[in-house]
């Protein structure tokens, strides 16, 4: 991008959507001047982005694909709960980008800080800019800091969210390890929608597993901003059976909503003024699409990204495809599995579009495993398609593990959970856990 373009980038964002269709398209002429199979920039190297980059290359190696991801090593959120529970090392959630490079993806370890969807270019923090024919955003989530009074980035250094894998996860584990026997682990669980619907409750299970074996006099208090949660009956059956009365879950309607946090004193205040004190305070705040999505102008008033479910192209901005947790893809949950599945559908649609062909029918599935103990796993599954322009869960499909399943069934699902992780990690990054 030349200097003039750089100067006008913000102004360009400002007029986005106001330009006439013809005017917008005319400005693309210089970028069409080089005949090629097309170029795609993918922002974000998680489950959605890495998968999209890989599957575009697999479907058409002639397409130029650049993946922009700040981290050289990506740590998945899935299975960090098992690390917190002492079942895995942190490095088992680490993945790199060697396989993508071998496939011919140009991997750039930089931060995308500006997107000009009019000029179709991405500005990197390091100074370079990248132009694209099609852009894929897989930005994950960001937090609504201060939506809970007193809970900002600084407070998170004392009361970790650990809802993005990395230093926050390590901090939570360190605090749990340092917690005295007889202490209280307090989690503030988030309102919908948020990343990984069963995640908070698997974390509670894994913390309980650790405490039962190491600090059995301790308590776990879950203050929830909602009245129900994913796989609730299965979790609560498991909690009662394995952890007795260690875990107390307080729903929204029983004053479960945390409205204020004092991170230094590790206290929280609920909607109706109850104060709770914790030894370890885990605040999972309300969420929205990752910041770059907002910057690109693809989010709506909810803070999330509406998409055409057939292709996962933004419904607001042409040639920008958005996958993963940032999207509004109900009834699909915000899971790594779904992000990967959406990445594949977007990849196929992009490859077809660059060849002048229509997108084929979209199809998605999801399976989320959660552990209650190392040998007791539960799952929720779904199969999704597009009908009448809307994503739907196929009637009669999906759902949670049977409530009356025997221990062999639970053990199998625990094993399948680990097998799932290894399979999807290898599918996404080429490395297993």
């Amino acid at each position: 991008m030349n200097k003039l373009n750089r100067l006008t980038r913000r102004q360009m964002l400002g007029v986005l959507g106001k330009a006439t269709a013809a005017g917008t398209l005319l400005m693309h002429v210089p970028m069409f001047a080089q005949p090629s199979a097309g170029s795609v920039v993918v922002i974000g190297g998680g489950f959605g982005g890495a998968t999209a980059a890989k599957y575009i290359k697999r479907r058409n190696p002639a397409i130029s694909v650049t993946l922009v991801e700040p981290s050289k090593v990506f740590y998945t959120c899935p299975f960090t709960n098992l690390y917190v529970g002492g079942l895995r090392t942190f490095d088992q959630q680490a993945h790199t980008y060697d396989e993508l490079r071998e496939l011919g993806v140009k991997v750039v370890h930089d931060l995308a800080q500006g997107i000009d969807t009019d000029k179709k270019s991405v500005q990197l923090a390091g100074g370079a800019s990248l132009s694209y024919d099609k852009l894929v955003l897989s930005p994950g989530i960001d937090f609504k800091w201060n939506a809970i009074e007193g809970y900002d980035q600084q407070a998170a250094e004392l009361a970790p969210h650990a809802w993005k894998a990395g230093a926050q996860t390590a901090l939570l584990k360190k605090q749990l390890d340092a917690m005295p026997d007889g202490g209280v682990f307090l989690m503030a669980a988030p309102p919908n929608p948020y990343r990984c619907p069963p995640g908070p409750y698997e974390r509670i299970s894994m913390v309980a597993h650790y405490l039962k074996n190491n600090k059995p006099k301790s308590k776990i208090l879950v203050l929830d901003a909602k009245d129900g949660f994913s796989k609730q009956a299965l979790f609560q059956d498991g909690w009662k059976r394995f952890y007795g009365d260690m875990i107390e879950w307080v729903p929204l309607s029983k004053d479960g909503k945390v409205v204020r946090v004092d991170a230094s004193n590790r206290t929280v205040e609920t909607e109706f003024g109850q104060i709770h004190k914790a030894s370890v305070l885990n605040i999972i705040p309300p969420q929205k699409a990752g910041a770059i999505a907002e910057q690109a102008g693809v989010t709506n008033e909810t803070g999330w990204v509406p998409v055409n479910p057939q292709t996962f192209e933004s419904s607001k901005v042409k040639d920008v495809f958005v996958v993963g947790d940032a999207t509004i893809a109900t009834p699909m949950p915000k899971s790594g599995f779904c992000a990967n599945a959406q990445g594949k559908v977007a990849a196929a649609a992009i490859v077809n579009a660059l060849a002048g062909k229509p997108a084929a029918q979209a199809s998605f599935a999801n399976t989320c495993y959660s552990l209650i103990t190392p040998d007791y796993g539960i799952s929720v599954a779904g199969v999704y398609r597009v009908e009448g322009g809307k994503l739907i869960e196929v009637k009669g499909s999906g759902g949670v593990s049977p409530r009356d399943a025997n221990d062999d069934f639970r053990k199998l699902e625990a094993q399948y959970g680990t097998a799932w992780y290894n399979a999807i990690a290898q599918d996404t990054w080429g490395t297993r856990g």
């Binding site: 040639d319 579009a353 002048g356 199969v383 593990s401 290894n422 490395t431 297993r432």
Partner: protein, 122 residues
């Protein structure tokens, strides 16, 4: 779009026409076709890329088409085989036509990747 307009695409008007026609089909979902490789994409997430598993979940690549089809239909039935966990919930999400397409797709993939692929173990 004719070849002729491709040749003239550096003129502004043709560029407009090209850009518009290239994106129009994306919204024409009513005419979209079934693509077994898209249906199969979600299977990879547990059964491994191309259906080649690296763990406890069975590989489905290169198995006989009829065996794959019958297994999926058994999962889909109201009396799935003993020991079935999640697959009965997943198989119910696919039409018999889609199951046929998936069975054909995975039966045509070689059980092992080409020898040039490196060991995926870290």
């Amino acid at each position: 779009m004719s070849l002729k307009s491709f040749k003239g695409w550096q003129t502004p008007l043709a560029a407009v026409a090209l850009a518009m026609s290239a994106t129009m089909p994306l919204s024409a979902s009513a005419q979209s076709v079934m693509d077994a490789s898209i249906l199969a994409g979600s299977c990879f997430n547990c059964h491994g890329t191309d259906g080649r598993s690296n763990g406890a979940i069975p590989s489905i690549a290169g198995r006989p088409q009829l065996a794959l089809k019958n297994q999926m239909l058994a999962f889909k039935s109201d009396q799935p085989p003993a020991g079935t966990t999640v697959m009965t919930r997943i198989a119910k999400g696919y039409t018999d036509q889609e199951i046929d397409a998936l069975a054909l797709y995975f039966s045509q993939i070689k059980q092992q990747a080409a020898a040039s692929q490196k060991d995926p173990q870290k």
